[in-house]
C-alpha cells in the first residue's frame, strides 16, 4: 500500500513560508540573551527540514540541514552569532524560500546562489563541500556476505520494559527473516519474594535460519541497543538441505528513506490559495448567523399570523426589519473581515530590505514602522507588496544621502525611513516617508523637458513631483543595480490604480519625500454611483467622481472639429459620450439634455456624458474576466438590488480608449 501524502504539501508549503518569515524576522533582530528566540529560529529550520524530506523535497531538506546544524550550534552555545553567520543564514532563508517557491509553482530555483550559500554554510561549519548526495545509498555494499544462519543471545537489562519495549515483540520480529527456534532462559529468575514484577529477568537464545546479514538483524534491536546484551554468532553454511529463503524478502528497517513521488507536480495541484482566520472572527460570524435565524423566526411569526393582519404587528415587523438590516450589515462586515489581514504581512519584509540595501549602498538607515496591525484585504496586501518595496528601495537609494552629506547638512548620520498605515474614512492610507534630500524641482523639470513631456516653470510643486510617476522617467544620474532603470515609479502608480487606489507625493528640499498611497478597504466591494444610459445602468466608482453638471450649449465645443470638449471654469475637458462608447441607444442624444459627470482619471480630468444619475451604492464586484472576458473600459460587473447586472466603469481606460479612436 502506498498512501498519497501530496495532499499535505500545500499545508507544508504554507507553514514553511511562515517558518521562513519567522526565521528572517528572528535573524534580523537577533539577541543573544533571548534563548527562546534562537530556539524558535532553530525549530523553524528543523521543521522545514523534516517536512521537506517527508513530502519529497529532498534538495530542500539537504540544503536546510547545514543551516540547521549552524543554528543548533548557536543554540547550544557552541558558536557565537555574528554578522557573517546571520548574513549567511538570511541568504539560506532566501534560498529555501526560492526552492520551495520553485517547487510549488514549477519554476526554477537560482542554482548559482544555492551553491554559493551552501559553500558559505559549509565553510562556516568547517566541513569540506563534497558528498552532497548518495552517502546513505550504498551503505550496505561493503557488508560482509550473509551467513546461512545465526545464533542470537538476547539478554535484556532488567529495565528494558520500562521504555515500552517488549522483548517478545523483538523476537517475533526476527521471524520475518526465517524460521526461529527460541529457548527461554530463566536462570536469573529470582525467588518469588525478590521478584520485581516490572523488571525483565529472562533471557533468550535464538537460532535463526536465514541468510540475513548482521546489520539487518541488529537493526531489529536498534532501539534497545543500550538496554540489552546482544550476541550474534554466524552458524556457517548448513551441510544438508539448502536453507529456506527469508520470508518476505528484505525488510525495510527505515534506514534509507524513500523519496515520495513527484512532489513538485502535486504541489502545483494544491495551489488554490487559502487563508487563515482567527477563531474569534469565525465565532462572531456563527453568532451573527444565530441572531439572523432568530430574526427570521420572529418575522415568520408576524407573517404567519393566522387570520387577518393585526395592526399591532406592524411595530414588530418594523422592529424585525430593523434587526435584519443591522444583522445583514454586521454579517457583511464580518465576512469581509475574514479576508482582512494585518498589513504587517507586507511590512515584515522591510527590516530585511532596508538592512540589505543600506548595507549594499554603505548608508546607514533606520526603519520605523507604525500601524502594522492595520487590517486590509488579503488581495490588496498581495498587490501592495511590490509597489511598497519599490518605494522603500527608492527612498534608500535616491532619497537618503550618504552619511557625510547628511552630517554636512546638519542632519543625523543615520537616515530615517518611516512606514505608516492607518484607516481614514473608509480608506487605508499607507505612507512611505524619508528624511533624505527631497526631490529637486529644477532637475525634474529639465529631465521632463528633455523627454518631451509638457512642462512649464510655473507648474505647481505637486504637479512637478507627480512627474516621477510618468512612464520611463528616472532622474538617477547613474543606473544602479537597485533602482534607476526608469521602470519603477510609473509601475507603482499603475499597480496602485489597478486596485482603485491613488498615489500622492509631497517633498521638501533637504527634508525628504513623503509618498501617500490611498487604497480602498477591500477589493470585493466598491462604493459607487449608478448612472443611466438608455436602458442600461453603469456603476462609476465614487473615488473617480468630482462633480456633475447639466451643461449649457455654450459650455460645449469641439477641438479641431472632432474631439468634443466641455468648457468648465476655464478648463477644457474631453467629453466622452458613454452611449457611443458602448453602442447604447441613449435617451439624451444631445449633451445639453443629459448629465455630464466630471471624473478624475490618472491622466487628468474628463467629462462623461450620461442620461441621468442614479443613487449611491455599495456594490459587490464580480470579475468580468473570469466569467466572460476582459472588456476595455469595464473593470467588472455587479448585480443590482433589482437583479439586473450593471457594469462597473474603468474611467482611466475609457479615457485611453478615446485617445485610441
Amino acid at each position: 500500500m502506498t498512501l498519497d501524502v501530496s495532499q499535505f504539501v500545500g499545508v507544508f508549503l504554507e507553514e514553511s513560508f511562515e517558518g521562513l518569515d519567522l526565521m528572517e524576522a528572528g535573524l534580523l533582530q537577533f539577541n543573544e540573551d533571548d534563548p527562546e528566540a534562537v530556539n524558535s529560529i532553530f525549530r523553524a529550520a528543523h521543521s522545514i527540514k523534516g517536512g521537506a524530506g517527508t513530502f519529497g523535497f529532498r534538495e530542500v531538506s539537504d540544503f536546510t540541514h547545514g543551516a540547521e546544524t549552524l543554528l543548533d550550534q548557536i543554540r547550544q552555545g557552541e558558536r557565537p552569532m555574528n554578522r557573517e553567520i546571520s548574513d549567511t543564514l538570511l541568504c539560506a532563508v532566501d534560498c529555501i524560500r526560492d526552492m520551495l517557491r520553485a517547487a510549488s509553482d514549477g519554476g526554477e530555483a537560482d542554482t548559482a546562489r544555492l551553491l554559493e550559500t551552501r559553500a558559505a554554510i559549509e565553510n562556516l561549519l568547517g566541513t569540506p563541500p563534497a558528498e552532497a548526495a548518495g552517502q546513505d545509498a550504498v551503505q550496505d555494499a561493503e557488508q560482509a556476505a550473509a551467513a546461512c544462519g545465526w545464533r542470537i543471545v538476547f539478554k535484556p537489562h532488567a529495565d528494558m520494559m520500562k521504555t515500552g519495549n517488549d522483548p517478545l515483540r523483538l523476537i517475533a520480529e526476527l521471524e520475518r527473516f526465517g524460521p526461529l527456534s527460541v529457548k527461554t532462559r530463566a536462570d536469573a529468575l529470582p525467588s518469588l519474594s525478590d521478584m520485581e514484577p516490572e523488571a525483565c529477568h529472562l533471557h533468550w537464545e535464538i537460532e535463526l535460519q536465514a541468510t540475513a546479514d548482521e546489520a539487518e538483524l541488529r537493526a531489529v534491536f536498534d532501539w534497545v541497543e543500550d538496554e540489552c546484551e546482544l550476541r550474534l554468532e554466524s552458524l556457517g553454511a548448513s551441510s544438508d538441505a539448502p536453507l529456506p529463503a527469508p520470508a518476505g524478502g528484505r525488510p525495510d528497517t527505515g534506514g534509507t528513506p524513500a523519496v515520495a513521488a513527484r512532489p513538485a507536480e502535486s504541489a502545483r495541484r494544491n495551489d488554490a490559495s487559502s487563508i487563515r482566520v482567527a477563531v474569534e472572527k469565525v465565532d462572531s460570524l456563527v453568532n451573527l448567523v444565530g441572531e439572523l435565524v432568530i430574526t427570521q423566526s420572529m418575522l415568520n411569526q408576524v407573517g404567519n399570523a393566522n387570520g387577518e393582519f393585526d395592526v399591532a404587528q406592524v411595530e414588530r415587523l418594523r422592529e424585525g426589519l430593523g434587526q435584519l438590516e443591522r444583522q445583514t450589515r454586521e454579517l457583511q462586515e464580518g465576512v469581509m473581515g475574514i479576508r482582512m489581514l494585518p498589513i504587517s504581512f507586507v511590512f515584515s519584509r522591510f527590516p530585511r530590505v532596508v538592512r540589505d540595501m543600506a548595507g549594499a549602498l554603505g548608508k546607514s538607515v533606520e526603519l520605523r514602522m507604525e500601524g502594522e496591525e492595520t487590517e486590509l484585504d488579503k488581495g490588496l496586501i498581495e498587490k501592495l507588496a511590490d509597489p511598497l518595496t519599490h518605494l522603500v528601495r527608492n527612498a534608500i537609494d535616491h532619497g537618503i544621502e550618504s552619511a557625510e552629506q547628511r552630517v554636512a547638512a546638519g542632519k543625523p548620520a543615520a537616515g530615517q525611513i518611516s512606514l505608516k498605515a492607518y484607516h481614514q474614512g473608509g480608506n487605508i492610507v499607507v505612507e512611505v516617508a524619508d528624511d533624505g534630500a527631497g526631490l529637486n524641482r529644477e532637475k525634474l523639470l529639465a529631465k521632463a523637458a528633455s523627454q518631451g513631456l509638457p512642462v512649464s516653470d510655473s507648474m505647481p510643486d505637486r504637479d512637478v513631483w507627480a512627474l516621477i510617476f510618468a512612464a520611463g522617467f528616472s532622474t538617477a544620474e547613474k543606473v544602479t543595480d537597485i533602482s534607476g532603470r526608469g521602470v519603477g515609479m510609473d509601475v507603482v502608480r499603475r499597480n496602485i490604480e489597478a486596485v482603485n487606489g491613488r498615489v500622492e507625493i509631497d517633498s521638501a528640499p533637504g527634508q525628504g519625500t513623503h509618498i501617500i498611497l490611498r487604497l480602498p478597504l477591500t477589493l470585493a466591494i466598491l462604493d459607487g454611483m449608478s448612472v443611466h444610459v438608455g436602458d442600461q445602468t453603469y456603476i462609476l466608482p465614487l473615488t473617480a467622481i468630482l462633480e456633475s453638471i447639466q451643461p449649457s450649449t455654450e459650455q460645449l465645443g469641439t477641438v479641431g472639429g472632432v474631439g468634443r470638449v466641455v468648457h468648465l471654469r476655464g478648463d477644457y475637458l474631453p467629453l466622452i459620450a458613454l452611449h457611443e462608447t458602448f453602442g447604447v441607444e441613449p435617451k439624451a442624444r444631445r449633451p445639453e439634455d443629459g448629465i455630464v459627470i466630471i471624473t478624475a482619471a490618472s491622466d487628468g480630468r474628463a467629462a462623461l456624458l450620461v442620461d441621468g444619475l442614479g443613487a449611491q451604492h455599495q456594490v459587490v464586484i464580480k470579475s468580468l474576466e473570469t466569467n466572460y472576458r476582459k472588456v476595455p473600459g469595464i473593470s467588472g460587473a455587479t448585480i443590482m438590488g433589482d437583479g439586473k447586472v450593471a457594469m462597473i466603469l474603468d474611467v482611466d481606460m475609457l479615457l485611453r480608449l478615446r485617445h485610441m479612436h
Binding site: 504539501v9 521543521s47 521537506a52 521504555t163
Partner: protein, 120 residues
C-alpha cells in the same frame, strides 16, 4: 485498532501522521506541543504516542519523561520523530524513556511498518 496520540508542532506533519494512521484503521488524536499532549494523554486511553522532539512550550524529551511519570504510561510505547540520527539525540530520548524513534524523513509505509512493529 490502536489509539494513537500524534504530537508535532508542524500542522502538515500532524495531518500526514493522522491521515496515514487513520487509513490503517487507527484512532488518532493530535496535539501541537508536549504540554498539549500531556493534557490529551490524561484525558483518555492511549496505546501509542508518536511525538516530535523539537517543539515550543514543551519538547518531546520532556514529554516522554513526564509521561513515564504517569502510572498509566509506564509501559506505553512512545516513539520519537527525529531528524537527528545522531547517537546523542537517540540516547537522550532513550534515557528519558522513549521506546524508539522514527527518523524523518519517512514515508507512510515506513511509518506504518514501525507502528506495526511496536504494536505487534
Amino acid at each position: 485498532m490502536a489509539k494513537i496520540l500524534a504530537v508535532d508542532d508542524s500542522a502538515s506533519m500532524r495531518q500526514m501522521l493522522a491521515f496515514t494512521l487513520q487509513h490503517a484503521g487507527h484512532e488518532v488524536r493530535e496535539a501541537d506541543n508536549g504540554k498539549a499532549a500531556l493534557d490529551a494523554a490524561q484525558a483518555g486511553a492511549v496505546d501509542l504516542v508518536i511525538s516530535d522532539v523539537n517543539m515550543p512550550v514543551m519538547d518531546g524529551i520532556t514529554l516522554v519523561k513526564s509521561l513515564r511519570g504517569l502510572p498509566a504510561f509506564r509501559f506505553t510505547p512512545i516513539l520519537l520523530l527525529t531528524t537527528e540520527s545522531s547517537p546523542e539525540k537517540k540516547s537522550e530520548g532513550k534515557a528519558a524513556g522513549a521506546t524508539g524513534w522514527i527518523v524523518k524523513p519517512f514515508n507512510p509505509d515506513q511509518l506504518l511498518a514501525t507502528v506495526q512493529r511496536v504494536l505487534g
